[in-house]
Amino acid sequence: MNGIAFTLRALHHGERHLAGQLIAVAERHRTEHEVHHVARDLAAWSRAHVASLAEAARAHGLDLDGSPGAPATGATGVLSTLREKTAEAVGRRPEPGLLLLRDLRELHLSAAENSLYWEMLAQAAQATKDDELLAVVSSCHPQTLRQMRWTNTLIKNLSPQVLTCP
């Protein structure tokens, strides 16, 4: 497997993972209404990235799964119901704020990792004059950056209240 194929595979994994994480965070923080809804909208972007990457990978002799993939561990079924209940039960307590900040940090790091992979692909696509791959990168990468800006904004806005108000 050459470097491009390796990067495609890694990013494909990263986007699937992020899609799953976003859905899991949306479920875990049902009582944080904005997080809940926006995370689901943003998961759709990552799912679309997965499909585009699978398509692009074919040209590189790679067979990647284009389906959206399962949400991150435990986000469906019993566990998710459990999480919903927990979200409701702890909705009145401040600790979920800390939990939320932790989850947002993790989302941010995953998106940042994906973003770096997109950069690598963009450079490789330019070096090899691979216009198709470049087109995929230029349509997807901006959305990854927006995912990062979203987590960044939320962390910035929530931290003062969550960290200073007991």
Partner: protein
């Protein structure tokens, strides 16, 4: 000539037709208490309406120290003497029984009367205790769109620099936050670009989710008068309900709710495809056109038709009208602002005007409307999620400038995060990090989404709730301290309407009992808390409305909402002046952006913009590279499906809204007998085909249920779009046994029992228009009819299904025509 008109039966009165580019003929509407003749009126005191955002100028009739009626002010630019039905009858609420006359405090679970000292002492001692034990982040303020400028400004100073909290917002969050946000996104700054006078000159008027006939009835009279005159405008209406506007429209689009962005992208697609772009304007005054053109390239009318469920041919017809207009006026309200992708959609309407170069000339304008009378003041004074004077919280120079005005250190003013929006404040209260919430002039226990949740937050033991209002509202019943407030006619202050027109409203009569103006309450609190500036002097140096106004003028100086050219004396002369009003524009400014966009430069703009999908804030570096020269920003947006879609259990979409005869949570309008009788209780609207499919008829008692809750009401079968249900919002519980909620096994009556807690990520405005719902029969009507008016969008689809709404003898308003010499000079087109 005078005539008397039943203004419940004929809410928009008689016609005074006029031609395009002429000025709107004046007519004076008067309504006096039974038995009071005009000659008996001892004083006429100037005021402006506070029951909607028109800013109708009126005079209050005073007889023996009490209010005895109103008349429209003939020389005012806004209404030219006319009154809407809410203006004509709403004043009676001031003297209705049940006004709060003494402060109340909670003792052993019950609210008991006390004196002001006791009540204020409770508020200040709790404030001090929280400040020491938990810090300024534990205190939040939630205010209104119905107080006066002087009051908001005082509140903003005491909250931001006195307490030092980020938690201050207005209920304008539910109402017009998207208008403000959309203006900031496109023009870098809040402030209405257009003017109501644009109605006189436009050849096409497009109303996007704006039922102007019911929310701003006086400006609808103006449109009706133009429709009857020479060279009438053609109307484009986007609304899922058969509103009066829809019935008069050349093109009516009734899209599936939650799909506005798809529809607007198709309209933009067509306009660009047909070559109707004003390229000169776009080049000189905007950035971002290329991006928009490429993003809407695939958004054909056929594509949108599938998403919105409207005919592609109608989308094309609408695009034709918009694209060929010579002077286009667009107006926007809750059908956009309270719906899915609110800011993204409102911004696309700005884009329509930018690509067509339709701004800054008579007739070419955008009205991103307000619902409430002083929503604009909340925004400009920073009593919502903004800093005063449209300053940018991300710009250190702006914060330093504000600190100079207030004589405090910049670090005193919290600006490390954006000011907290109302929905987040309630979330912090739910979690327990906000421990005191001071609510002035609004009623969240009826107006916020998902009422069961809101009630449970307000009822928490650990949350100290202060409510300042006229009546024992649903929210006041849940408070720990209730402060009786004076209102319109009982206090002095200025109000700025949706088209930037400033009016002075003066005190005409004494407030009842010990009720006090909101300004006095805030000043009293600031004095008791002993807030200081950085030199140890008092932070708040003013003591009455006029000195508060003068203080605000210093804060507004040099900012877009510059009031420095105004004084109380001047406002007592000319009626209705539009800001900015300063040395350069001593008579005010009819339209912003006559020569390009003035306030979008990175150094002066109020906001660097936000991501329309995620709400993430852009920073100055990004903004500078996008828009170094401070032009208008064309921001494209992709359509996203709504968050809640109908399914098997909840097969309908549900939308909610205001109707002509009521305002906000009916605190005042339900206490005006004529208005209350015209729409006394909640009802449910469904289409004729849906009703037939379910075997339901006019007057059947039905229940609308969503995942949050249920509301019961009688069914009105209308021409609403199939698949959609409508509930009038803001019927509450104060006049029921429950008091603050649907207690005692009583079914829900407030539409917000059903609505979802979800908001637009950019403007943070809650969504009241996109729930999925079920409809079921509770009990047959057996000849009864729904308590819905027949004069409005809720008119039955079969005309004989319900008796016509009439007001009778007590609803007569005198309409007097005015000789032409009083008419204003014509404005050149």
């Amino acid at each position: 000539m005078d005539s008397s008109v039943d203004r419940i039966a004929r809410p928009w009165g008689s016609r005074t037709p006029y031609d395009r580019h002429a000025s709107w003929p004046a007519r004076v509407d008067t309504h006096l208490e039974a038995g009071v003749a005009p000659e008996q009126v001892q004083r006429w005191v100037r005021a402006a309406s506070i029951l909607h955002s028109d800013g109708d100028a009126m005079d209050i009739a005073v007889v023996d120290g009490r209010t005895a009626g109103v008349r429209g002010r003939v020389d005012d630019r806004v209404n030219r003497g006319r009154l809407g039905p809410k203006d004509a009858f709403g004043w009676q609420a001031n003297s209705s029984s049940g006004r709060l006359t003494r402060p109340l405090v909670r003792e052993d679970g019950r609210l008991v009367e006390c004196d002001w000292d006791t009540a204020m002492e409770r508020v200040t001692s709790r404030s001090r205790e929280l400040l020491t034990r938990r810090g300024p982040g534990s205190i939040g303020f939630y205010t209104s769109g119905q107080l006066y400028l002087e009051e908001y400004y005082t509140l903003a100073v005491l909250a931001r620099a006195g307490i030092g909290t980020s938690h201050l917002d207005g209920n304008t969050r539910l109402c017009t936050a998207t208008a403000g946000e959309a203006l900031k996104e496109s023009f870098g700054c809040d402030g209405q670009p257009g003017s109501y006078d644009d109605i006189d000159h436009a050849d096409v008027i497009a109303l996007f989710g704006h039922n102007i006939a019911e929310t701003q009835p006086v400006q609808w009279m103006r449109i009706l008068d133009r429709l009857e005159g020479g060279d009438p405008p053609r109307l484009v209406c986007v609304d899922p309900r058969p509103t009066r506007v829809a019935r008069r429209a050349a093109v009516h689009l009734a899209p599936r709710v939650g799909t506005n962005v798809a529809l607007l992208n198709a309209l933009l697609h067509e306009i660009i495809r047909a070559g109707r772009v004003d390229h000169d304007y776009v080049r000189t005054h905007t950035v971002g056109f290329e991006e928009l053109a490429s993003r809407v390239e695939e958004c054909t009318p056929e594509w949108a038709a599938r998403i919105c469920d409207v005919p592609a041919a109608s989308i094309r017809a609408a695009a034709d009208l918009l694209g060929a207009a010579d002077r286009l006026l667009s107006t926007v309200l809750q059908g956009v602002y309270q719906s899915h992708q609110a800011t993204a959609a409102a911004v696309q309407i700005n884009n329509l005007h930018l690509v067509r170069g339709m701004l800054g000339r008579p007739g070419a304008g955008v009205l991103q409307m307000n619902g409430q009378p002083t929503a604009q003041n909340t925004r400009e004074c920073g009593a919502d999620g903004d800093l005063p004077g449209f300053r940018n919280w991300q710009n250190d120079d702006h914060v330093a400038d504000l600190a100079r005005v207030w004589n405090v250190e910049p670090s005193t003013i919290p600006h490390h995060t954006p000011p907290t929006h109302a929905m987040q404040m309630f979330r912090y209260a739910e979690q327990g990090s906000i421990r005191m919430l001071w609510i002035s002039g609004t009623n969240p226990a009826v107006s916020l989404p998902e009422l069961a949740r809101v009630r449970s937050i307000l009822q928490q033991e650990r949350l100290f709730v202060v409510v300042q209002d006229l009546f024992l509202t649903e929210t006041a019943r849940l408070a720990d301290v209730v402060l009786p407030a004076a209102t319109w006619g009982e206090k002095t202050g200025t109000a700025t309407n949706a088209d930037r027109t400033v009016h002075l409203s003066e005190k005409a009569v004494e407030p009842p009992g010990e009720a006090r103006p909101d300004l006095d309450v805030f000043l009293d609190y600031a004095a008791r808390m002993d807030f200081r500036d950085k030199d140890g002097g008092p932070l708040i140096t003013w003591h009455d409305p006029e000195s508060a106004f003068e203080a605000w003028k210093r804060c507004s100086a040099g900012r877009p909402c510059d009031y420095t050219g105004l004084t109380y004396a001047k406002l007592r002369g000319a009626s209705g002046v539009q800001w900015p009003c300063n040395e350069q524009a001593p008579d005010g400014t009819p339209r912003l952006y006559a020569d390009g966009v003035a306030w979008a430069h990175p150094d002066v703009c109020e906001s660097y913009g936000k991501d329309l999908v995620t709400g993430a804030a852009d920073d100055v570096v990004e903004y500078r590279s996008l828009n170094p020269d401070g032009k208008a920003v064309i921001r494209a947006a992709d359509y996203l499906p709504p968050h809640e879609a109908p399914d098997e259990d909840h097969p309908f979409q549900l939308t909610t809204g205001r109707t002509l005869y009521h305002f906000h949570t009916r605190t005042k309008t339900a206490r005006a007998p004529q208005l209350n009788a015209a729409a006394p209780d909640v009802w449910v609207e469904a289409s004729a085909s849906d009703a037939a499919a379910l075997g339901l008829h006019e007057g059947d008692l039905v229940e609308v249920g969503t995942r949050r809750g249920a509301v019961r009401g009688r069914l009105r079968v209308t021409d609403i779009r199939p698949g959609l249900l409508f509930l009038p919002f803001h019927y509450g519980y104060w006049d029921t046994e429950g008091g603050h909620g649907p207690g005692g096994g009583m079914p829900g009556r407030a539409a917000n029992e059903t609505t979802v807690t979800d908001w637009d990520p950019a403007s943070k405005q809650p969504l009241f228009k996109t729930a999925a719902a079920a409809l079921r029969l509770v009990e047959r009507g057996d000849g009864r009819v729904a308590p819905a008016p027949t004069t409005t969008a809720s008119a039955p689809s079969r005309a004989d299904a319900a008796p016509a709404t009439v007001g009778g003898p007590t609803a007569l308003v005198t309409e007097s025509s005015v000789p032409a010499r009083d008419r204003r000079a014509q404005e050149a087109p």
